[in-house]
Protein backbone atom coordinates (compact mmCIF):
# COMPACT_ATOMS: atom_id res chain seq x y z
CA UNK A 1 0.00 0.00 0.00
CA UNK A 2 2.89 2.33 0.74
CA UNK A 3 3.61 2.83 -2.95
CA UNK A 4 0.20 4.50 -2.98
CA UNK A 5 0.97 6.89 -0.13
CA UNK A 6 -0.98 9.63 -1.83
CA UNK A 7 -3.36 12.15 -0.32
CA UNK A 8 -4.98 15.49 -1.12
CA UNK A 9 -3.48 18.36 0.85
CA UNK A 10 -3.37 22.14 0.83
CA UNK A 11 -0.29 23.78 -0.68
CA UNK A 12 0.87 26.86 1.24
CA UNK A 13 2.65 29.91 -0.20
CA UNK A 14 6.04 28.49 0.91
CA UNK A 15 5.40 25.27 -1.04
CA UNK A 16 4.77 22.98 1.90
CA UNK A 17 1.63 20.83 2.07
CA UNK A 18 -0.89 20.85 4.91
CA UNK A 19 -2.95 17.79 5.85
CA UNK A 20 -5.38 20.11 7.66
CA UNK A 21 -6.68 23.56 6.70
CA UNK A 22 -7.07 25.29 10.03
CA UNK A 23 -7.65 28.90 11.03
CA UNK A 24 -5.72 29.62 14.24
CA UNK A 25 -6.84 32.14 16.80
CA UNK A 26 -3.67 32.62 18.77
CA UNK A 27 -2.90 34.61 21.89
CA UNK A 28 0.45 36.38 21.58
CA UNK A 29 0.56 36.80 25.38
CA UNK A 30 -1.06 35.06 28.35
CA UNK A 31 -3.25 38.12 29.01
CA UNK A 32 -5.07 37.55 25.69
CA UNK A 33 -6.09 33.93 26.35
CA UNK A 34 -9.52 34.84 27.71
CA UNK A 35 -10.40 36.57 24.43
CA UNK A 36 -9.06 33.63 22.42
CA UNK A 37 -11.18 31.24 24.47
CA UNK A 38 -14.26 33.41 23.94
CA UNK A 39 -13.75 33.39 20.16
CA UNK A 40 -13.38 29.60 20.25
CA UNK A 41 -16.59 29.32 22.31
CA UNK A 42 -18.46 31.27 19.64
CA UNK A 43 -16.70 29.63 16.71
CA UNK A 44 -15.53 26.09 17.52
CA UNK A 45 -14.26 25.58 13.94
CA UNK A 46 -11.17 27.65 14.75
CA UNK A 47 -8.15 26.22 16.55
CA UNK A 48 -7.51 28.23 19.70
CA UNK A 49 -3.95 28.57 20.97
CA UNK A 50 -3.76 29.56 24.62
CA UNK A 51 -0.54 29.73 26.63
CA UNK A 52 1.25 31.36 29.53
CA UNK A 53 4.00 33.23 27.63
CA UNK A 54 4.58 36.46 25.72
CA UNK A 55 5.99 38.79 28.36
CA UNK A 56 7.89 39.02 31.62
CA UNK A 57 10.83 36.82 30.64
CA UNK A 58 14.43 37.40 29.58
CA UNK A 59 15.73 37.73 26.04
CA UNK A 60 16.57 34.10 25.18
CA UNK A 61 13.20 32.82 26.40
CA UNK A 62 11.28 35.53 24.54
CA UNK A 63 13.26 34.67 21.41
CA UNK A 64 12.23 31.03 21.75
CA UNK A 65 8.63 32.12 22.26
CA UNK A 66 8.59 34.23 19.09
CA UNK A 67 10.29 31.45 17.09
CA UNK A 68 7.87 28.82 18.34
CA UNK A 69 4.67 30.86 17.98
CA UNK A 70 5.70 32.08 14.51
CA UNK A 71 6.66 28.51 13.55
CA UNK A 72 3.26 27.23 14.67
CA UNK A 73 1.47 29.83 12.51
CA UNK A 74 3.72 28.81 9.61
CA UNK A 75 2.95 25.11 10.12
CA UNK A 76 1.50 23.87 6.80
CA UNK A 77 -1.67 22.64 8.55
CA UNK A 78 -2.49 26.29 9.28
CA UNK A 79 -4.14 28.19 6.43
CA UNK A 80 -4.63 31.51 8.18
CA UNK A 81 -4.44 33.05 11.65
CA UNK A 82 -5.87 35.78 13.85
CA UNK A 83 -3.26 36.96 16.37
CA UNK A 84 -4.75 38.41 19.54
CA UNK A 85 -2.47 40.61 21.63
CA UNK A 86 -3.04 42.82 24.65
CA UNK A 87 -1.14 45.95 23.60
CA UNK A 88 1.64 46.47 26.17
CA UNK A 89 3.41 43.08 25.95
CA UNK A 90 6.79 42.17 24.46
CA UNK A 91 5.50 39.49 22.07
CA UNK A 92 2.89 41.75 20.52
CA UNK A 93 0.58 40.94 17.63
CA UNK A 94 2.53 43.41 15.48
CA UNK A 95 5.88 41.84 16.36
CA UNK A 96 4.63 38.35 15.58
CA UNK A 97 2.98 39.49 12.35
CA UNK A 98 6.28 41.08 11.36
CA UNK A 99 8.08 37.80 11.98
CA UNK A 100 5.56 36.12 9.65
CA UNK A 101 5.74 38.70 6.85
CA UNK A 102 7.83 36.52 4.52
CA UNK A 103 5.63 33.44 4.94
CA UNK A 104 2.89 34.76 2.65
CA UNK A 105 0.28 33.43 5.06
CA UNK A 106 -2.99 35.31 5.73
CA UNK A 107 -2.53 36.82 9.19
CA UNK A 108 -4.84 39.33 10.92
CA UNK A 109 -4.30 41.03 14.26
CA UNK A 110 -6.50 42.24 17.10
CA UNK A 111 -5.17 44.27 20.04
CA UNK A 112 -7.39 44.24 23.13
CA UNK A 113 -6.35 47.66 24.48
CA UNK A 114 -6.96 49.26 21.06
CA UNK A 115 -10.23 47.42 20.43
CA UNK A 116 -11.79 48.83 23.58
CA UNK A 117 -11.66 45.82 25.83
CA UNK A 118 -12.10 42.08 25.76
CA UNK A 119 -15.68 41.89 24.47
CA UNK A 120 -15.01 44.20 21.52
CA UNK A 121 -11.74 42.42 20.82
CA UNK A 122 -13.58 39.07 20.77
CA UNK A 123 -16.17 40.57 18.37
CA UNK A 124 -13.38 41.78 16.05
CA UNK A 125 -11.45 38.50 16.20
CA UNK A 126 -14.62 36.50 15.60
CA UNK A 127 -15.49 38.56 12.51
CA UNK A 128 -11.96 38.21 11.14
CA UNK A 129 -11.91 34.47 11.83
CA UNK A 130 -15.28 33.97 10.08
CA UNK A 131 -13.93 35.72 6.99
CA UNK A 132 -10.69 33.70 7.02
CA UNK A 133 -12.60 30.42 7.47
CA UNK A 134 -14.66 31.33 4.41
CA UNK A 135 -11.52 32.02 2.39
CA UNK A 136 -9.94 28.74 3.50
CA UNK A 137 -12.96 26.81 2.28
CA UNK A 138 -12.26 28.07 -1.23
CA UNK A 139 -8.67 26.77 -1.29
CA UNK A 140 -8.24 23.86 -3.70
CA UNK A 141 -6.62 20.61 -2.58
CA UNK A 142 -3.63 19.14 -4.34
CA UNK A 143 -2.18 15.68 -4.74
CA UNK A 144 0.68 15.05 -2.33
CA UNK A 145 2.81 12.09 -1.24
CA UNK A 146 4.82 10.80 1.72
CA UNK A 147 7.69 13.00 0.51
CA UNK A 148 5.59 16.05 1.49
CA UNK A 149 5.27 14.87 5.09
CA UNK A 150 7.29 15.70 8.18
CA UNK A 151 6.25 13.56 11.12
CA UNK A 152 7.17 14.21 14.73
CA UNK A 153 8.02 11.21 16.93
CA UNK A 154 7.07 11.43 20.57
CA UNK A 155 6.59 9.24 23.60
CA UNK A 156 4.76 10.21 26.76
CA UNK A 157 4.06 8.09 29.80
CA UNK A 158 6.45 5.31 28.78
CA UNK A 159 6.47 1.86 30.34
CA UNK A 160 8.83 -1.11 30.02
CA UNK A 161 6.85 -2.38 27.03
CA UNK A 162 7.22 0.91 25.11
CA UNK A 163 10.69 -0.09 23.94
CA UNK A 164 9.52 -3.59 22.99
CA UNK A 165 6.31 -2.85 21.11
CA UNK A 166 5.07 0.67 20.27
CA UNK A 167 8.45 2.39 19.84
CA UNK A 168 10.11 -0.18 17.53
CA UNK A 169 6.85 -0.45 15.56
CA UNK A 170 6.91 3.34 15.09
CA UNK A 171 10.56 2.83 14.09
CA UNK A 172 9.42 0.51 11.27
CA UNK A 173 6.85 3.08 10.14
CA UNK A 174 9.60 5.74 10.27
CA UNK A 175 11.87 3.58 8.09
CA UNK A 176 9.08 3.18 5.53
CA UNK A 177 8.27 6.90 5.58
CA UNK A 178 11.94 7.75 5.04
CA UNK A 179 12.19 5.20 2.17
CA UNK A 180 9.23 6.98 0.58
CA UNK A 181 11.06 10.31 0.74
CA UNK A 182 9.46 11.73 3.89
CA UNK A 183 10.97 13.27 6.99
CA UNK A 184 10.76 12.14 10.61
CA UNK A 185 11.92 14.10 13.66
CA UNK A 186 13.31 12.18 16.62
CA UNK A 187 13.25 14.54 19.60
CA UNK A 188 13.44 14.48 23.41
CA UNK A 189 17.13 14.94 24.16
CA UNK A 190 16.53 13.94 27.79
CA UNK A 191 15.49 10.55 26.49
CA UNK A 192 18.75 10.14 24.63
CA UNK A 193 20.79 10.24 27.87
CA UNK A 194 22.51 6.87 28.18
CA UNK A 195 21.71 5.91 24.58
CA UNK A 196 24.51 7.71 22.77
CA UNK A 197 26.16 4.41 21.77
CA UNK A 198 23.49 3.30 19.29
CA UNK A 199 22.59 6.90 18.32
CA UNK A 200 26.12 7.80 17.27
CA UNK A 201 26.29 4.64 15.13
CA UNK A 202 23.27 5.98 13.22
CA UNK A 203 24.77 9.43 12.62
CA UNK A 204 25.32 10.00 8.91
CA UNK A 205 28.54 11.95 9.34
CA UNK A 206 31.09 12.86 11.98
CA UNK A 207 29.67 16.37 12.05
CA UNK A 208 26.18 15.04 12.86
CA UNK A 209 27.66 12.71 15.50
CA UNK A 210 29.60 15.53 17.16
CA UNK A 211 26.54 17.78 17.33
CA UNK A 212 24.37 14.97 18.68
CA UNK A 213 26.95 14.11 21.33
CA UNK A 214 27.22 17.75 22.41
CA UNK A 215 23.44 18.13 22.72
CA UNK A 216 22.98 14.96 24.77
CA UNK A 217 25.96 15.67 27.01
CA UNK A 218 24.67 19.20 27.64
CA UNK A 219 21.28 17.84 28.67
CA UNK A 220 22.91 15.20 30.88
CA UNK A 221 25.06 17.85 32.57
CA UNK A 222 22.02 20.06 33.14
CA UNK A 223 20.10 17.15 34.61
CA UNK A 224 22.96 16.33 36.95
CA UNK A 225 23.36 19.96 37.98
CA UNK A 226 19.67 20.55 38.65
CA UNK A 227 18.47 17.19 39.86
CA UNK A 228 21.54 15.63 41.49
CA UNK A 229 23.72 12.67 40.52
CA UNK A 230 20.92 10.10 40.45
CA UNK A 231 18.58 12.56 38.74
CA UNK A 232 15.46 10.71 39.85
CA UNK A 233 13.14 13.46 38.63
CA UNK A 234 14.37 12.99 35.09
CA UNK A 235 11.80 10.20 34.88
CA UNK A 236 8.11 10.50 35.73
CA UNK A 237 6.87 8.44 38.70
CA UNK A 238 4.70 6.40 36.35
CA UNK A 239 7.74 5.33 34.32
CA UNK A 240 9.29 3.88 37.46
CA UNK A 241 6.05 2.22 38.62
CA UNK A 242 5.87 0.44 35.28
CA UNK A 243 9.29 -1.15 35.85
CA UNK A 244 11.64 1.29 34.13
CA UNK A 245 14.59 1.77 36.47
CA UNK A 246 17.08 4.17 34.86
CA UNK A 247 17.00 6.97 32.30
CA UNK A 248 19.33 4.91 30.09
CA UNK A 249 16.79 2.09 30.03
CA UNK A 250 14.02 4.52 29.11
CA UNK A 251 16.20 6.22 26.48
CA UNK A 252 17.27 2.98 24.78
CA UNK A 253 13.60 2.14 24.29
CA UNK A 254 12.72 5.69 23.29
CA UNK A 255 15.22 6.02 20.44
CA UNK A 256 13.87 2.93 18.67
CA UNK A 257 11.14 5.26 17.34
CA UNK A 258 13.79 6.54 14.92
CA UNK A 259 14.07 3.11 13.26
CA UNK A 260 17.23 2.17 11.45
CA UNK A 261 17.60 5.11 9.08
CA UNK A 262 20.72 7.25 9.23
CA UNK A 263 20.43 10.51 11.18
CA UNK A 264 20.93 13.22 8.55
CA UNK A 265 20.90 16.35 10.68
CA UNK A 266 20.59 17.72 14.23
CA UNK A 267 18.52 20.90 14.62
CA UNK A 268 17.78 23.22 17.52
CA UNK A 269 14.39 23.51 19.16
CA UNK A 270 11.69 24.73 16.73
CA UNK A 271 14.17 25.04 13.81
CA UNK A 272 13.08 23.69 10.45
CA UNK A 273 15.17 20.76 9.19
CA UNK A 274 17.11 21.43 6.01
CA UNK A 275 17.35 17.73 5.14
CA UNK A 276 14.81 15.03 4.44
CA UNK A 277 14.93 11.63 6.10
CA UNK A 278 15.53 11.09 9.80
CA UNK A 279 16.57 14.19 11.73
CA UNK A 280 17.05 14.85 15.45
CA UNK A 281 15.67 17.91 17.23
CA UNK A 282 17.01 19.11 20.59
CA UNK A 283 13.94 19.27 22.84
CA UNK A 284 13.05 18.43 26.44
CA UNK A 285 11.47 15.06 27.13
CA UNK A 286 8.38 16.87 28.42
CA UNK A 287 6.04 15.85 25.62
CA UNK A 288 3.89 18.97 25.12
CA UNK A 289 6.97 21.22 24.84
CA UNK A 290 8.66 18.72 22.59
CA UNK A 291 5.65 18.57 20.25
CA UNK A 292 5.59 22.41 20.10
CA UNK A 293 9.17 22.37 18.82
CA UNK A 294 8.35 19.82 16.13
CA UNK A 295 5.09 21.55 15.12
CA UNK A 296 6.95 24.87 14.81
CA UNK A 297 9.45 23.09 12.57
CA UNK A 298 6.60 22.05 10.28
CA UNK A 299 5.57 18.56 11.42
CA UNK A 300 2.08 17.94 10.02
CA UNK A 301 1.43 14.94 12.30
CA UNK A 302 2.89 13.30 15.40
CA UNK A 303 3.25 9.58 16.11
CA UNK A 304 2.92 9.42 19.88
CA UNK A 305 3.53 6.22 21.84
CA UNK A 306 2.39 5.69 25.41
CA UNK A 307 2.49 2.91 27.95
CA UNK A 308 0.65 4.60 30.80
CA UNK A 309 -1.86 6.44 28.60
CA UNK A 310 -2.21 10.15 27.91
CA UNK A 311 -4.98 12.22 26.32
CA UNK A 312 -2.81 15.06 24.98
CA UNK A 313 -3.25 16.45 21.52
CA UNK A 314 -1.78 19.52 19.89
CA UNK A 315 -3.28 22.57 18.17
CA UNK A 316 -3.64 22.09 14.38
CA UNK A 317 -1.40 19.02 14.34
CA UNK A 318 -3.04 15.57 14.53
CA UNK A 319 -1.46 13.42 17.23
CA UNK A 320 -1.72 9.66 16.62
CA UNK A 321 -1.69 7.79 19.91
CA UNK A 322 -0.21 4.27 19.97
CA UNK A 323 -0.37 2.10 23.09
CA UNK A 324 2.49 -0.18 24.11
CA UNK A 325 0.19 -2.69 25.80
CA UNK A 326 -3.34 -3.93 25.16
CA UNK A 327 -4.52 -3.33 28.74
CA UNK A 328 -4.03 0.38 28.19
CA UNK A 329 -5.83 0.23 24.83
CA UNK A 330 -8.80 -1.39 26.57
CA UNK A 331 -8.66 0.94 29.57
CA UNK A 332 -8.51 4.25 27.60
CA UNK A 333 -10.21 3.42 24.29
CA UNK A 334 -11.27 7.03 23.65
CA UNK A 335 -7.69 8.30 23.76
CA UNK A 336 -5.69 5.65 21.88
CA UNK A 337 -5.76 5.28 18.10
CA UNK A 338 -3.82 2.02 17.66
CA UNK A 339 -2.67 -0.82 19.90
CA UNK A 340 0.92 -2.03 19.50
CA UNK A 341 0.44 -4.33 22.51
CA UNK A 342 -0.65 -6.92 19.93
CA UNK A 343 3.09 -7.53 19.47
CA UNK A 344 3.13 -9.18 22.92
CA UNK A 345 0.39 -11.51 21.66
CA UNK A 346 2.36 -12.55 18.58
CA UNK A 347 2.02 -9.87 15.89
CA UNK A 348 5.32 -8.88 14.33
CA UNK A 349 6.87 -5.44 14.75
CA UNK A 350 6.84 -5.16 10.93
CA UNK A 351 3.09 -5.84 10.79
CA UNK A 352 2.30 -3.20 13.38
CA UNK A 353 4.70 -0.79 11.67
CA UNK A 354 2.65 -1.19 8.47
CA UNK A 355 -0.55 -0.59 10.47
CA UNK A 356 0.93 2.65 11.81
CA UNK A 357 1.96 3.82 8.33
CA UNK A 358 -1.51 2.98 7.05
CA UNK A 359 -3.11 4.96 9.89
CA UNK A 360 -0.79 7.89 9.17
CA UNK A 361 -1.99 7.85 5.55
CA UNK A 362 -5.64 7.77 6.66
CA UNK A 363 -5.00 10.73 8.97
CA UNK A 364 -3.28 12.56 6.09
CA UNK A 365 -6.48 11.81 4.15
CA UNK A 366 -8.45 13.70 6.86
CA UNK A 367 -9.42 10.86 9.23
CA UNK A 368 -9.57 12.43 12.70
CA UNK A 369 -7.38 11.16 15.51
CA UNK A 370 -8.85 10.49 18.96
CA UNK A 371 -7.16 13.62 20.30
CA UNK A 372 -8.75 15.69 17.50
CA UNK A 373 -12.19 14.19 18.19
CA UNK A 374 -11.74 14.96 21.88
CA UNK A 375 -10.68 18.55 21.14
CA UNK A 376 -7.37 18.01 22.93
CA UNK A 377 -5.03 20.81 21.96
CA UNK A 378 -2.44 21.53 24.62
CA UNK A 379 0.38 23.98 24.00
CA UNK A 380 3.58 24.77 25.90
CA UNK A 381 6.99 26.11 24.85
CA UNK A 382 10.36 24.90 26.09
CA UNK A 383 12.25 27.60 27.94
CA UNK A 384 15.97 28.14 28.41
CA UNK A 385 15.70 27.61 32.13
CA UNK A 386 16.27 23.87 32.51
CA UNK A 387 13.25 21.75 31.70
CA UNK A 388 13.42 18.01 31.80
Amino acid sequence: MSEDFVFEGWRRPDGRIGIRNHCLVLATVACATGVVREVWRRLPEVVAVEHAYGCGRGGPDLGLQVKTLAGLVQNPNVGAAVLVGLGCEVVSAALLKGALASSGKRVETVVIQEAGGSRKAADQAEALARRLLGELEELPRQRATAADLTVGLECGGSDTFSGLTANPAVGKATDRLVELGGTAILAETTEMIGALGPLLKSAESEEVAAKLKAKVERQEARARETLGPLADAVMAPGNVESGLTTIAEKSLGCITKGGSSPIREVVDYADRPGRKGLVVMDTPGYDVESMAGMAAAGAQAVLFTTGRGTPVGFPAVPVIKISSNSELFEAMPDDIDLDAGTILAGKSIDQVGEQILDLLLRVARSEKTRAEINGQAVFAIAQEGPAF
Binding site: F161, G197, T246, A248, L344
Partner: protein, 99 residues
Amino acid sequence: MTCRMRADRTSSMAVLGIRVHPRDNVAVVAGDVQAGDVVRLADGAEVRAAEAIPRGSKVALGPIACGEAVIRYGEEIGKATEDIAAGEYVHRHNLAREI
Protein backbone atom coordinates in the same frame (compact mmCIF):
# COMPACT_ATOMS: atom_id res chain seq x y z
CA MET B 1 -18.88 -35.55 44.50
CA THR B 2 -16.36 -34.59 41.86
CA CYS B 3 -12.80 -33.80 42.70
CA ARG B 4 -10.91 -31.10 40.92
CA MET B 5 -7.26 -31.32 40.28
CA ARG B 6 -5.31 -29.46 42.94
CA ALA B 7 -3.50 -26.43 41.64
CA ASP B 8 0.17 -27.01 42.31
CA ARG B 9 1.90 -23.69 42.72
CA THR B 10 5.40 -25.05 42.43
CA SER B 11 4.83 -26.86 39.14
CA SER B 12 4.08 -23.31 37.99
CA MET B 13 3.01 -21.96 34.67
CA ALA B 14 5.65 -20.36 32.48
CA VAL B 15 5.51 -16.60 32.04
CA LEU B 16 6.94 -15.05 28.88
CA GLY B 17 10.20 -13.20 29.40
CA ILE B 18 11.34 -10.76 26.72
CA ARG B 19 15.04 -10.45 26.00
CA VAL B 20 15.84 -8.03 23.18
CA HIS B 21 19.54 -8.71 22.64
CA PRO B 22 21.66 -11.83 23.19
CA ARG B 23 23.99 -9.85 25.51
CA ASP B 24 21.12 -8.90 27.85
CA ASN B 25 21.41 -10.24 31.40
CA VAL B 26 17.84 -9.21 32.27
CA ALA B 27 14.48 -9.87 30.60
CA VAL B 28 11.12 -8.09 30.98
CA VAL B 29 8.31 -10.34 32.25
CA ALA B 30 5.12 -10.09 30.19
CA GLY B 31 2.89 -11.07 33.14
CA ASP B 32 2.93 -11.03 36.95
CA VAL B 33 5.35 -13.64 38.27
CA GLN B 34 5.17 -15.49 41.62
CA ALA B 35 8.16 -16.97 43.41
CA GLY B 36 8.87 -20.35 41.85
CA ASP B 37 7.29 -19.55 38.49
CA VAL B 38 9.31 -20.29 35.41
CA VAL B 39 10.13 -17.37 33.11
CA ARG B 40 10.63 -18.69 29.59
CA LEU B 41 12.25 -16.70 26.77
CA ALA B 42 11.30 -17.02 23.09
CA ASP B 43 14.42 -19.13 22.46
CA GLY B 44 13.33 -21.63 25.14
CA ALA B 45 15.84 -20.54 27.79
CA GLU B 46 14.31 -20.56 31.27
CA VAL B 47 14.96 -19.06 34.68
CA ARG B 48 13.02 -19.81 37.87
CA ALA B 49 11.80 -16.67 39.67
CA ALA B 50 13.30 -16.33 43.15
CA GLU B 51 10.60 -13.87 44.21
CA ALA B 52 7.46 -12.16 42.99
CA ILE B 53 8.09 -9.86 40.01
CA PRO B 54 5.41 -7.47 38.77
CA ARG B 55 4.43 -7.52 35.11
CA GLY B 56 6.68 -5.32 33.01
CA SER B 57 9.58 -5.51 35.44
CA LYS B 58 12.95 -7.14 34.95
CA VAL B 59 14.20 -10.55 36.03
CA ALA B 60 17.91 -11.40 36.25
CA LEU B 61 18.74 -14.14 33.77
CA GLY B 62 21.94 -15.08 35.61
CA PRO B 63 23.94 -13.87 38.59
CA ILE B 64 25.02 -10.22 38.38
CA ALA B 65 27.71 -9.16 40.83
CA CYS B 66 27.56 -5.84 42.66
CA GLY B 67 29.12 -3.19 40.42
CA GLU B 68 28.57 -5.21 37.25
CA ALA B 69 26.66 -3.72 34.29
CA VAL B 70 23.01 -4.56 33.86
CA ILE B 71 22.43 -5.00 30.14
CA ARG B 72 19.14 -4.45 28.25
CA TYR B 73 18.83 -3.74 24.49
CA GLY B 74 22.47 -4.91 24.35
CA GLU B 75 23.50 -1.74 26.21
CA GLU B 76 24.32 -0.88 29.81
CA ILE B 77 21.30 0.59 31.60
CA GLY B 78 23.10 0.92 34.96
CA LYS B 79 25.08 -1.08 37.50
CA ALA B 80 24.02 -3.61 40.11
CA THR B 81 24.14 -1.98 43.58
CA GLU B 82 24.23 -5.38 45.29
CA ASP B 83 24.82 -8.98 44.23
CA ILE B 84 21.84 -10.19 42.24
CA ALA B 85 21.06 -13.89 41.88
CA ALA B 86 19.47 -15.51 38.82
CA GLY B 87 15.69 -15.19 38.98
CA GLU B 88 15.69 -12.12 41.22
CA TYR B 89 13.64 -9.00 40.63
CA VAL B 90 15.76 -6.15 39.21
CA HIS B 91 14.61 -2.59 39.89
CA ARG B 92 15.63 0.43 41.96
CA HIS B 93 16.56 -1.61 45.06
CA ASN B 94 19.47 -3.24 43.23
CA LEU B 95 20.08 -1.23 40.04
CA ALA B 96 21.13 2.41 39.59
CA ARG B 97 22.82 4.65 37.09
CA GLU B 98 24.62 7.84 37.92
CA ILE B 99 23.52 10.31 35.33
